[in-house]
Amino acid sequence: MNKYFIILCLILLSRVATAHEMIPTYPKWKLSIYDGLLVTEMEMFNKREDVEYYEVAVFDDKWNPIPFVSSFKLFKLEYLSKVKFDVYIREQDRERTEYICSTSKLRNNKAPAISSMICSRFK
């Protein structure tokens, strides 16, 4: 009986669960050191072994893209690593900016995959 229980545990533990997370959920814009630009700091954690790259984008409430500047729009984020990054927008876009989203970029996987996207919101 114990033998079967251990085998069942091993099977369950061997299932690789992979995750994507980004914080904060409700970021705030702050004045940046650059004239006319606002900045917010985001943090992303990659627990997806099948994903190496994440794309960042900024949208208004109708999902139209808003121009922004960041170190990279496409981050290489190793498995189990964390990155903090700044996102800058023009001060004039403050009111219409609604979401910052990060999307997993899937490689040309042979197996079916799940693309994940997390969006933080400005309130």
Binding site: T18, A19, P24, T25, N108, P112, A113, I114, S116, R121
Partner: protein
């Protein structure tokens, strides 16, 4: 002689300063939504012109888990495929059908209404994550080749899109 050497050695070791440092571990608890790929799907091929994740046809339904730490702060949107990410060259149209349902919840009392309150538009299903905890969503996807023609041999891959949007 040997006894003296051992005694001196022991005293020297005892006299060695012991340094203790407190190593801090800091943590930051924030509200968050985590999307976890629990089970990647597999298409079964019950006949020449159909690919399906239905278990009765040899497929595996993909399962995505959402963990939220703040109640009533997120929407989960899951979109089943409408195209192949990878396939052999296809000369005819592919008809896609798909659906998503709650597979399991960590809090049956507060999450019990998720399935009845879901909103479906096109291939996308939206859930209002009103409680904290984990929810597992199971999707099904079927691709049928035009005019009941046989799918050409090769590898077919399609992707589910799981989105978590702050309210």
């Amino acid at each position: 002689m040997l006894r003296k050497a051992i005694l001196v050695g022991t005293m020297c070791l005892g006299a060695t300063a012991v340094y203790a440092e407190e190593v801090p571990i800091t943590g930051n608890v924030q509200s968050r939504c985590v999307i976890t790929t629990d089970t990647p799907g597999v298409y079964g091929n019950p006949n020449a012109y159909t690919l399906t994740t239905a278990s009765a046809d040899g497929g595996v339904q993909p399962i995505v888990r959402y963990d939220v730490t703040l109640a009533d702060a997120y929407y989960a949107q899951i979109t089943t495929p409408t195209s192949f990410a990878q396939s052999p060259s296809l000369s005819d149209t592919v008809t896609w059908t798909g659906s998503t349902e709650v597979s399991a919840v960590s809090d049956a009392t507060n999450m019990g209404s998720y399935e009845t309150n879901k909103v479906t538009f096109g291939q996308t299903t939206q859930y209002d994550l009103t409680a904290t905890g984990s929810t597992w969503f199971k999707s099904s996807s079927t691709a049928s080749y035009g005019g009941d023609k046989a799918f050409p041999g090769g590898t077919y891959t399609a992707n589910i899109e799981a989105v978590c949007i702050a309210k």
